[in-house]
């Protein structure tokens, strides 16, 4: 059952391909090193990039290795329903940030998302957001570095230390040389590499199982054998009437509100990691088009990253996903005596089984590219927030530009160093990381309520925003502490305040925690704002919807207009959901 993961060893051709990829990402950094003259060049790319570049980088920066591996794993676990994370869970929010929020981010000339909060609200709201964001980016790149090192060790027998250090060193080098521009250019290159590395995997895989029809038939047999309806793996919405009827264990309302609204808008509309890419655009129109351009490939990505996991489940009859290893060395069994699969290896074992040497090198380069693009996204967002929002604000407000750029480079080195440290902490104390990620989830859940009220209700005050955020974070922690997913024991999974309700799955619990956090933040922000003194209208011009003149775009052609792009994307999204209902 537990198949060996290395049916094909690496050959010189595979190493050559990987080496070539490394050489090119470093080359891009090298070529850009002389154009970094001011801190605005280093942190904001001098606001000079066209929309198609920032758009692809917007997508790529989010597409870390964890995403590629994790979505393949979810594909194997939940089937095509995983696409909710792309379709309802990303595209609407991407359209919203482009059409309605970018005018304030880009138009206010804020250099970061926390800085927008400073302009709109006050110092404490910015500090809260900046500090939690900075800590979060460092830890999440540490976690993904750990996952990467572990994977390379499992797949290829490479040393964990070497994999972590070499890939971190390459990212460090190209960001130090070329700043955000270098990160963005490489993200575009990595985007194409990821597409060209994973597309053949899907093509060959589908060919192997008899096309989409064959895959559907095989997955239907599997679903029935597990006691699920035949379409459990191949329908995204069917069975969403109740948590017990689908593999995710959530009902449609939790998916639409928790994932589609709260979590998705909270990430795509407020996370500086992605918004920074749009801020680097050369004009307001380009900034607004950035997330819209990213939304189109985002819609198609499920086929690239989710299908390999689904195919891995049934290919060759019994699938090729290896079992988790139990303490004794044999396959791990669950309470019912069934083998527990190591879903994280679904996509990697597809690479190892389906690609001959040559293509294997390309697939691994694509995997490394996804890791590096995610890492670089974290690092560039971290060094900007650290330098502008923390260092310049609290440590040396009078620092000149040259000094800030030097600090940005130091922050890049220190940030990567801390991420490496976090990777090793993860390796030895997995629970600490789980706990930290939980805390970040609590802090992030209410964020969109703050930005939404801040941008669209001029009466919102700094005190309201700050207390709303605190209350929302607390509400998330309380809801999580009072509930448990089915089958879990009280602890890091929830229930630490006593169990008042159980959810069919962890995902259901997460979505509902987010919903409660958002509602609490929304209500508290409004109540406190009504009780405190608002800022004068003239101070809020350019920061709030009702006080900002409508932007008149410079785009002349219909297909370049942000609103038109938005409508077309929405139509495509609807069609996709109907096809895979």
């Amino acid at each position: 059952m537990a198949t060996a993961l290395t049916p094909v060893g690496l050959q010189w051709i595979d190493y050559t391909i990987i080496a070539l990829y490394f050489a090119f990402v470093l080359g891009v950094g090298w070529r850009l090193r002389r154009s970094m003259e001011t801190s605005a060049d280093f942190f904001l790319s001098g606001r000079s990039l066209p929309a198609w570049i920032t758009g692809l980088a917007f997508l790529s920066a989010n597409l870390g290795a964890q995403e590629v591996i994790g979505m393949g794993a979810s594909g194997a676990k939940y089937g095509i329903s995983t696409s909710h994370f792309y379709w309802i869970g990303a595209v609407p929010a991407m359209l919203f940030v482009g059409l309605f929020m970018m005018p304030f981010y880009y138009g206010s000339k804020a250099r970061s998302v926390p800085e927008y909060l400073r302009l709109r609200f006050d110092e404490k709201t910015r500090a809260f957001n900046a500090v939690s964001f900075a800590v979060m980016t460092v830890f999440s790149s540490g976690v993904s570095m750990y996952a990467m090192g572990l994977l390379m060790h499992l797949l290829l027998g490479w040393s964990f230390n070497a994999s972590v250090l070499v890939s971190a060193a390459i990212v460090l080098a190209y960001i130090l040389m070329g700043g955000l521009t270098s990160a963005i250019y490489n993200e575009v290159l990595q985007f194409f590499l990821i597409v060209f590395g994973f597309a053949p995997l899907v093509i060959v895989g589908l060919n192997e199982v008899g096309g989409w029809g064959g895959l559907k038939a095989k997955l239907a047999v599997l679903a029935i054998s597990q006691g699920h309806p035949a379409g459990a793996y191949t329908h995204a919405w069917q069975g969403m009437d109740a948590p017990a009827h689908n593999l995710i264990g959530v009902e449609w309302f939790g998916v639409a509100m928790g994932l589609g609204f709260v979590l998705s808008f909270g990430y795509w509309c407020t996370d500086f990691l992605v918004v920074q890419r749009a801020m680097a655009a050369d004009s307001m129109d380009s900034a607004r088009r950035t997330p819209l351009i990213a939304a189109v490939p985002k819609m198609v990505f499920p086929f690239l990253v989710i299908l390999p996991g689904m195919i891995a489940l049934v290919i060759g009859g019994a699938g090729i996903i290896p079992a988790k290893v139990a303490a004794g060395g044999g396959p791990l069994l669950d309470a019912a005596g069934k083998v527990v699969l190591n879903y994280d290896l679904a996509t990697p074992s597809m690479l190892m089984h389906l690609f001959p040497n040559g293509m294997l090198g390309l697939g691994l380069a694509a995997l490394l590219a996804s890791f590096m693009s995610g890492m670089a996204g974290n690092v560039t967002a971290f060094n900007t927030v650290w330098t502008y929002d923390l260092y310049q604000t609290y440590i040396r407000p009078k620092a000149d530009d040259r000094h800030l750029m030097w600090i940005g480079r130091v922050a890049t080195v220190v940030g990567i160093g801390l991420a490496i440290a976090a990777a090793y902490v993860t390796a030895s104390f997995n629970n600490i990381m789980e706990l930290l990620q939980l805390v970040f989830a609590f802090v992030n859940a209410p964020l969109f309520a703050t930005f939404f009220l801040g941008m669209f209700w001029r009466r919102t005050t700094g005190h309201g925003a700050f207390l709303g955020l605190l209350a929302g974070t607390a509400a998330a922690a309380i809801h999580h502490g009072l509930t448990l997913p089915a089958g879990a024991v009280a602890g890091v999974k929830g229930g630490y305040f006593g169990v008042m309700a159980t959810f069919a799955s962890e995902m259901g619990q997460t979505f509902w925690t987010a919903i409660y956090a958002w509602i609490t933040c929304f209500v508290v922000t409004i109540v406190v704002s009504m009780l405190t003194r608002p800022r004068a209208a003239e101070e809020l011009v350019g920061l709030v919807y009702s006080l900002t003149p409508r932007t008149v775009g410079t785009a002349t052609a219909l297909w370049q207009k942000p609103a038109f792009l938005g409508v077309v994307t929405l139509a495509l999204l609807t069609i996709l959901n109907i096809i895979f209902y």
């Binding site: 391909i17 891009v28 970094m36 570049i53 290159l189 001959p356 040559g358």
Partner: protein, 79 residues
């Protein structure tokens, strides 16, 4: 001076894909897939995917060249 210097990102992308395409195509020609992969009925995937990448890379380079030319002669630039 813009932060992008005067580097067109299409050039490194085009060059990388052209090189990778050539490499894979050549490898596919001289080193046919034998029984090395258990599943691949896709046949000469190195060969045909190498060609796909080669075409993409060359297209990127051509577009970059056309852009550079039209930038060099501002009169011919699109309005």
């Amino acid at each position: 001076m813009s932060a992008a210097g005067n580097l067109d990102v299409r050039v490194p992308i085009g060059a990388l894909f052209t090189l990778l395409g050539l490499l894979l195509t050549a490898y596919g020609l001289f080193e046919p897939v034998s029984a090395q992969a258990a599943f691949t009925r896709g046949g000469q995937i190195n060969l045909w995917w190498g060609l796909v990448m080669l075409v993409f890379g060359v297209c990127m380079l051509l577009i970059a060249r056309r852009r550079r030319r039209s930038a060099a002669t501002p009169s011919s630039r699109a309005p």
